[in-house]
């Protein structure tokens, strides 16, 4: 659309974040830190269920679990009649709450790429993830909403990005959140880019070299410390020093092993250098079951799964059943089944494992767990992999993993049993802090109650300069919609693109041209009957609250 009015341009430019009074949404502290979940179903540990029980939490600790327990006077009471209480979930390897550095898309030819220095080469094992935590990061909230209360988090990056910490997902200040610092030395067997080491073979060589150098300098520092007289001063190298706890077998190395062959590279390093190892984010671990078992490596399987195939290919090939295509689809399905059946295969092979959310999208996690269960994992095993097993693998069994007196008050409370398709998280406690979740706010996808948006809508976009009014028309076209927008400053109707209605979530885009510059406008929000609530994004001009109502005349 061509804007003929220069004022809108001004308006859009002025719509930058307004300086001045920012509304600090600080919540008031809870009245009490004592909670009683009464008459509820408690799954204390996989396979150990008490019905009609009460759970008492006090000052961040589970104090009592059982039947006929009196409710303390200072307790906030949660009626748990239709609820299920589980231990909070533990994620063995993730980036939850970790600040992601801005990606430098540097294709520039490096000078002397053989000697890049530690940092450019991705060698920062001395980096402490505690310095990179952002309690306000929305990933913390997203994972917590699923029931995850604790995660072993690592810095972003490849090769040797730094030290991991085990944190609580309560959103508190970094030091408050950290349960175990320097829980592991994190490594990905992936090169940085155009500098040494730029290949897997370079990475593996450099790994061994650093380790050997660290071993030698560690030894010498000890010799020096015992009697400094007459000895050359050892040079402090923080990179090498970061390996010392590993060399002393006080700290494991945590490897990402999401590619099928990664685990084999880990086997080699482990057997050569003899340090404790955790491997996380495995996706094709079933290809190496026996060797994983023999290695004794601690394992966290990926919560990510490839999308389930949609049944669409059948229509186009109805004339002749193509044997080759069928065979290929069959093999592809087998590969998918292998991925989905990974967890079950590990159980069958007698290898215990936790889960890693590193490459999974929170919105898929519960569905993925249900797919793993359908592929042979029992619900108890699934629960164990979320609670007791990771607690044990990370050395936290004394503190968490079960709903027992003395454990930390890390709980997830659901309506319906946890892996039930209709199960919903209603409460999560992290370290005694309660997070409450409302019953269904977003209507389920494709449950037949897809909103009907056909018709004319009056949109009102709230900019700092006042509201702008537009008319938006949607027309149904088969399964999808077409439409246009007009009004306000838009004199000629402009076609909408990418109209996406998913359940009641509506999203669409259009373009406006201001003095020859094209601005992409995107409106995103939820439809509720004849009203709409959402936001409008206009590229670098910012985002604005938006409401709309459907015109009953049409």
């Amino acid at each position: 659309m061509i804007i003929k009015h220069w004022k809108l341009l001004l308006l859009l430019i002025a719509a930058l974040p307004a300086p001045g009074i920012a509304q600090d949404e600080r919540e008031l502290p809870p009245v009490t830190r004592t909670y009683a979940i009464t008459h509820t179903t408690v799954v204390q540990a996989p396979g150990r269920k008490i019905e009609g029980a009460t759970v008492i939490l006090k000052d961040g600790i589970i104090t009592q679990v059982g039947k006929d327990i009196p409710v303390p006077a200072d307790a906030k009471v949660i009626k748990g009649d239709s609820l299920f209480v589980y231990a909070g979930f533990i994620d063995g390897l993730s980036h939850t709450g970790v600040i992601k550095p801005k990606e430098e898309n540097n294709r520039e030819r490096p000078k002397d790429p053989g000697n890049p220095g530690y940092e450019k080469a991705g060698i920062t094992p001395q980096q402490d993830v505690r310095n990179l935590l952002n309690p306000a990061d929305k990933s913390i909230e997203e994972w917590r909403a699923l029931g995850f209360t604790v995660a072993q988090v690592v810095p972003h990056g490849v090769f040797l990005p730094g030290n991991a910490s085990i944190i609580q997902l309560g959103g508190g200040a970094p030091d408050q959140s950290v349960l175990v610092s320097n829980s592991a030395l994190y490594s990905e067997l992936v090169p940085t880019s155009n500098v040494y080491p730029s290949t897997l073979i370079g990475v593996l060589s450099k790994w061994r070299e650093l380790y050997k150098q660290a071993t030698l300098s560690h030894n010498y520092e000890q010799v020096y410390a015992s009697n400094r007289s007459g000895l050359e001063r050892p040079v402090t190298d923080r990179v090498l020093q970061a390996f010392y706890p590993v060399i002393d077998k006080k700290q494991p190395v945590l490897f990402r092993a999401d590619q099928p062959l990664d685990i084999y590279r880990v086997f080699n390093l482990q057997s050569e250098l003899q340090f404790p190892v955790i491997a996380g984010d495995l996706k094709d671990g079933s290809l190496a079951l026996q060797r994983i078992k023999a290695s004794g490596i601690k394992i966290f399987l990926s919560l990510d799964l490839p999308e389930a195939p949609k049944d669409e290919g059948k229509k186009d090939d109805k004339n002749t059943p193509d044997a080759e295509k069928q065979q290929l689809e069959k093999r592809k399905k087998e590969a998918l089944d292998r991925r989905v059946g990974q967890a079950a295969a590990f159980v069958n092979a007698g290898i215990s494992f936790g889960f890693s959310g590193l490459s999974a999208k929170p919105k898929d996690v519960m569905a993925n767990l249900r797919r793993m269960i359908a592929a042979g994992l029992s619900t108890d095993q699934a629960l164990a992999a979320l609670t007791t097993v990771p607690a044990q693998l990370l050395g936290l069994s004394d503190r968490m993993g079960t709903v027992e007196p003395g454990k930390m008050a890390n709980l997830v409370v659901t309506a319906k049993p946890l892996f039930d398709e209709k199960s919903k998280v209603r409460y999560v406690w992290v370290d005694g802090t309660m997070f409450q979740y409302q019953a269904t706010e977003v209507k389920k996808k494709d449950d037949g109650t897809k909103a009907d948006i056909q018709g004319v809508w009056s949109f009102s976009i709230d900019t700092p300069q006042g509201k702008t009014e537009n008319k938006v028309t949607f027309k149904k076209d088969g399964d999808s919609y077409t439409g246009n927008v007009v009004g306000g400053m838009i004199t000629e109707p402009v076609d909408l693109t990418d109209i996406d209605l998913d359940g009641n979530a509506l999203k669409f885009n259009f373009k406006i041209t201001i003095d020859g510059n094209t601005v992409n406008v995107s409106i995103d929000g939820k439809v509720d009957g004849t009203s709409f609530n959402g936001t409008t994004s206009a590229g670098s001009f910012g985002s604005f609250a938006t409401t709309a109502s459907k015109d009953p005349k049409f």
Binding site: G114, S198, I201, L204, A288, R331, A335, R338, A344, A375
Partner: protein
């Protein structure tokens, strides 16, 4: 429920299948009544070859086979030792650490990819052993791994030819000068620079060795508390070359650079060197023969770059006639599928005899890799790597029917299914066509350096 049971069953069987393949890396086969081209002991008509638990145990007539051994009737067929490709880049996840002129410390054996379908395709061309090499971007590249093509497992370890001598890639001429001089503006930009880089590396290694030898000597003294020298894997590896523990395989083309490298070897006391490609080795054949240096060559490639413009398809024949241990190699996933044909071309270009031509792809590459006591000919005691052909392998009508590695049939022309992939990516589209016409002439040796020279798709060679 039934469905779930079914899935559990498939999983169990799937696992079982993988394990069996991983464990059955040695097998027993009796090949009956074939024309056996032993390579080292002449041709024996209507002869049986018996392989038990991966080793050739008997060659003769009417041999009795142990129970459970697979029997292959080779009447009218030709039986030859498994083909050895002394220059390959398949079965590797990474090839070229092209960031420094010397990267002796890296090792292709760290990046074995046992799932590439090219491994099976090579088996279908009779190849049983490959030298999986580092690329040629650096004057001193990485160490290489010798692999047996035991296709059928996802475990990289299963492919390693245990006990094969260590080897390392060197590279002279245009590739290192183009990458480092041309690409990064550092030495070497010329063949003079390449020589300097190699000589300096060996000199540094000599100093390094001396320092460590001294430290290790001092350490023996009671109460020694000194600081160790800085550990350096690059210099460690170079020192191992000087100690004679690693065979150099040197990518090279021009006679002058080969001669330069011969002199470097002489000066540093290095005995074992094989020149790879060595398109102009024929011009310096007497010198190679005198120093016991070997050559592994293309049958007929030329003119894809300037340094191979003055090459000749008669290279192999001239080298053989001058007493140089010579092999043919592929450096190419397609070419390696018909090394028997490439060896055959030396009969057109220079009239080599059948035995001479057969040696180029069997015992000679085995010598170059230091594995000739184990493979490279059909002899009792050697490993059971055998190919069975319809028609003589040097004939254009030769057709590999079976390829056997350590007594296990890894290629069976009539029984294998079309789709031999070991790993299927469930997220990949089923119909991905790759037009390999555009690959032809792309130097795999130089893989990973393309960003230095712009988009390869605009430049074919």
């Amino acid at each position: 429920m039934r469905n779930r049971l079914y899935i559990l069953l498939t999983l169990a069987f799937g696992i079982a299948a993988v394990q069996t393949t991983a464990q059955s890396n040695r097998g027993s086969v009796v090949i009956r009544n074939g024309t056996v081209l032993t390579v080292t002991k002449g041709t024996q008509d209507k002869t049986d070859v018996l392989i038990v638990d991966g080793k050739i145990t008997q060659i003769g007539k009417g041999l009795s086979a142990p129970a459970g051994a697979r029997v292959i009737d080779a009447s009218g067929l030709f039986v030859m030792p498994g083909i050895i490709d002394p220059h390959s880049h398949i079965a590797l996840e990474d090839i070229n650490e092209a960031t420094a002129p010397v990267t002796a410390e890296v090792f292709t054996g760290d990046a074995i990819d046992p799932m590439q379908v090219m491994i099976y395709r090579a088996l279908a061309g009779g190849v049983t052993t490959i030298h999986a090499m580092h690329g040629s971007a650096n004057a001193i590249g990485g160490q290489c791994e010798t692999l047996k093509l035991r296709y059928g497992t996802t475990d990289p370890e299963a492919l390693r030819m245990e006990g094969a001598p260590r080897t390392i890639k060197f590279a002279l001429g245009e590739n290192p000068t183009r990458v480092h001089g041309g690409g990064y503006g550092i030495v070497p930009r010329t063949r003079m620079g390449v020589e300097f880089v190699i000589r300096k590396a060996f000199s540094d290694a000599r100093d390094y060795m001396a320092k460590w030898d001294k430290y290790n000597q001092d350490k023996l003294a009671k109460g020694f508390r000194g600081a160790p020298p800085l550990y350096n894997r690059r210099l460690e590896t170079l020192a191992d070359i000087l100690r004679g523990q690693i065979i150099i395989h040197c990518h090279s083309y021009r006679a002058d650079e080969i001669n330069m490298m011969l002199k470097v070897c002489k000066d540093f006391g290095i005995k074992r060197i094989v020149f790879q490609h060595a398109n102009e080795a024929f011009k310096i054949a007497p010198e190679l023969a005198a120093q016991g240096a070997m050559a592994s060559v293309f049958s007929d490639w030329w003119a894809y770059k300037f340094e191979v413009y003055y090459a000749s398809a008669y290279n192999a024949a001239i080298l053989v006639r001058n007493g140089v241990v010579t092999s043919v190699n592929s450096d190419d996933a397609e070419l390696m599928r018909h090394l028997y044909h490439e060896a055959g071309k030396t009969q057109k270009y220079g009239g080599l005899t059948d035995d001479e031509a057969m040696a180029l792809m069997t015992i000679n590459p085995a010598r170059q890799l230091g594995i000739d006591s184990r493979v490279g000919s059909i002899e009792v005691g050697k490993e059971g790597d055998v190919v069975i052909f319809k028609s003589h392998p040097l004939s254009i009508y030769a057709l590999p029917l079976y390829t056997i590695v350590d007594g296990v049939v890894r290629f069976d022309k009539d029984k294998d299914p079309d789709d031999m992939r070991l790993f299927v990516d469930p997220t990949q589209s089923t119909e991905t066509t790759v037009d390999h016409r555009y690959d032809a002439g792309v130097d795999r040796c130089m893989e990973g350096t393309d960003f230095l020279f712009g988009d390869l798709s605009t430049e074919e060679n």
